[in-house]
Structure formats: structure tokens, C-alpha cells
Subunit: 175 residues, 2 copies
DNA sequence: TAAAATTATTTCAGACCTAAAATAATTTCA
DNA sequence: TGAAATTATTTTAGGTCTGAAATAATTTTA
């Protein structure tokens, strides 16, 4: 390998603030974040299909219901999972057909549909969740505890930044 | 806020290695990573639709083609974007219909379909890419350069860990 | 109270995505 | 050479996901 020329080194060390209008660093950061996310998602999807003949959206929906003792409405689930109401309706339809979820209109407000896991659903979820937790641990096994903590913290900062930017944009549209 | 009890502090500082079988930290890390990824993806999707009446898969596909002067095959694109061949075929069908992409069998190997941007496609992409880069910068604006660099590095480490775990699993299946 | 506005969910049309099977072209090798 | 294996892409069937329109129930308000 050649020694890099001074200009190349300089270029690599140039800060974004010194290159007005250039945001290639952020772009690379986003692409790397997306790659990690996609790799994990694809792998979990494959393993859920192979070992449990189920899908990630179904698992995610069951995971939400499992956390709530009193059940959740369609709207609550769709907010938590960051998917549309229509999508929740469709995924729930499959889970209902398989007897894993129960759906009933709330007594007080009959617009609202309350979703709960059936006994069978809880049992099925328990088995999957245990395996799932192990898979995630395997996937992150190459990071030491310090790195895991650091990454968690930085992603927290990222989340804050994203919420701020998205809220600002939403306000701007209103004005 | 109450002062946390000693046991709570101890618990919070307990390392995963000291809690055999527990991998809640990695699970939380994955959920946070997924949240960030989903927030960005949804926001970019919305902005592409509002400002350019296009979709993220189309943009991503065009971005790949734009990087290559000689064109790319369906297989190359599907590998880069980490989607199935069939999906590339479908998204390309839309871009072909809109005159943004050109598809032709390679002269040497007629199994291979070579995809290139048309002049119109290059022009349309250029406009979108400029805006896109700005959006990403906005979304990450809450991180300072040190944090951006740190996060990029840690996601690199994560990618390595993921590839290792996925490869190991693939080998295990073979044996 | 009755019309209007709001809220929760479902339906719809359409794009996306996958795995697996089918098709088509090329390469290997007996 | 020509059958078999390999490689590249498309097709198919089915699940996922969206935004927008439709439906249905509740709350507001005139």
C-alpha cells in the first residue's frame, strides 16, 4: 500500500463544518445504520420462519400484547410498532385465524377494539421470545459491554435528534 | 425523584456476564437501533413522496445505478440493496415505464440484464439526491462531529459482529 | 337534542417484498 | 458433442405495508 498523499490525509480529516453543503458523512452514517438494521431484521425473519413458521410482524405484534396485562387497542399497537392501523388490522386477522389473539369491542367505547393474547398465544410467544433473545445476543456478541453501552447511549442521542428534526418539519408545514 | 436504593444501582450496573441467560441489554439495543432506522426511513419515504412523488425503493435503486458508469446487472443491484431479484425486477418495471431506467441484455451473456439510468433518470436523480443529502443532515443535526464519528465506528463494529454471527450460523446449517 | 366534528377502525388500491418454481442461457465435463 | 449442472432473471402466490376513503361510534357545540 502506498503512503497516502498529504492532500488525501487532509481531505479525510476535513470536518463537515469546513465543507459547507457537504453532508457525505451523515449519509454514510445513515447507510451503515440501515445496513445493520436490515441484516438483523433479515436474519430474525429467516429464523422465525425456519424455527417457528411465523413472521416478524406477527412476532412484534404478539410482543406488544404480551407486555400489557389488560390488552391494547388497535391504535395503541399501531403507534408502538410505528405501522399503519390498516396493517395492524391485517396482521391481527392472521393471528385471530390461528387462535393466538383475541379481539373484542370495549364495553365503554364500542369504536375501540381491544386485543389480547389467548392462552395459546401466550404459550407460543413465550417459546419464541426466549429463542429470539438468544439470537439477538448472538448477533451482538462481537461487541464488548463498553461498546454496547456506548452504542446504546449514542442511539439514544440519535433518537432525540430525529424526533427534534421531525417535529420541527411538522411544525413548519403547519405554519 | 427518589435516591435509588443500593440494590437498584447494583442491578443497573450488573454486567450481562454476571446474569447468565439474560440478554435484555442487547434486546434493548436492537429495539433502539430499529426505532432509529424506522424513524429515518419513514421520514425519508414521506418527503420523497411529498416532494418528488416517488418511493424509497425507486430512489435507492436509482442511487445504485448512478454510482456505476457502465451499468449494473439485476443481480448486482439486488445484492447491494439486500433485496430479492424478483423485487428488483418489479421496481425496475416501474422505472422503465417512467423512462428513468434502461434495461438491455448483455451482448456477451444474454442471461444478464444490464440496467442504466437514462438521461432523464440521471437528471431526476440528481435533483432528488441533493435534497436527500440535506434531509439526512437535518435528521442527524443533533449529534456533534465527535458523536457522529463514534457512532459510525461502533456501527462498523456491529456490522462485523453481525456478519460473523450470520456466517457462523450458515456454516452450522451446512454441517 | 340534532347536526357537525372528532375519533377508531376497516377497507381499498397499489406498491413492496419474499421464497420457491419456472424459464432461459451458459458452462462443465463425460 | 450433448447431457447435466450452473447461473441469471422472471414469474407466481402470498404476506406486508401504506395513504386515503369509507364506515361506525362518540363527543362537541350551536
Amino acid at each position: 500500500m502506498e503512503t497516502p498523499s498529504p492532500s488525501l490525509v487532509l481531505d479525510r480529516e476535513t470536518k463537515a463544518s469546513e465543507r459547507p453543503g457537504d453532508h457525505k458523512d451523515e449519509l454514510r452514517l445513515w447507510l451503515r445504520l440501515l445496513t445493520c438494521s436490515t441484516l438483523i431484521e433479515t436474519e430474525i425473519r429467516n429464523r422465525l420462519r425456519e424455527e417457528f413458521k411465523t413472521t416478524l410482524p406477527r412476532f412484534d405484534l404478539m410482543a406488544q400484547l404480551e407486555k400489557s396485562t389488560t390488552g391494547m387497542t388497535v391504535g395503541e399497537v399501531s403507534q408502538r410498532l410505528m405501522v399503519s392501523n390498516g396493517n395492524v388490522t391485517a396482521v391481527v386477522a392472521g393471528l385471530l385465524a390461528d387462535g393466538l389473539v383475541d379481539k373484542r369491542a370495549a364495553a365503554q367505547d364500542r369504536r375501540v377494539q381491544v386485543l389480547t393474547l389467548t392462552a395459546q398465544g401466550r404459550k407460543a410467544f413465550k417459546a419464541m421470545a426466549e429463542r429470539h433473545e438468544g439470537w439477538i445476543a448472538e448477533l451482538f456478541a462481537g461487541l464488548d459491554p463498553t461498546e454496547t453501552t456506548q452504542l446504546f447511549r449514542l442511539l439514544g442521542r440519535t433518537k432525540t435528534s430525529l424526533h427534534a428534526a421531525i417535529a420541527q418539519r411538522a411544525n413548519g408545514d403547519k405554519a
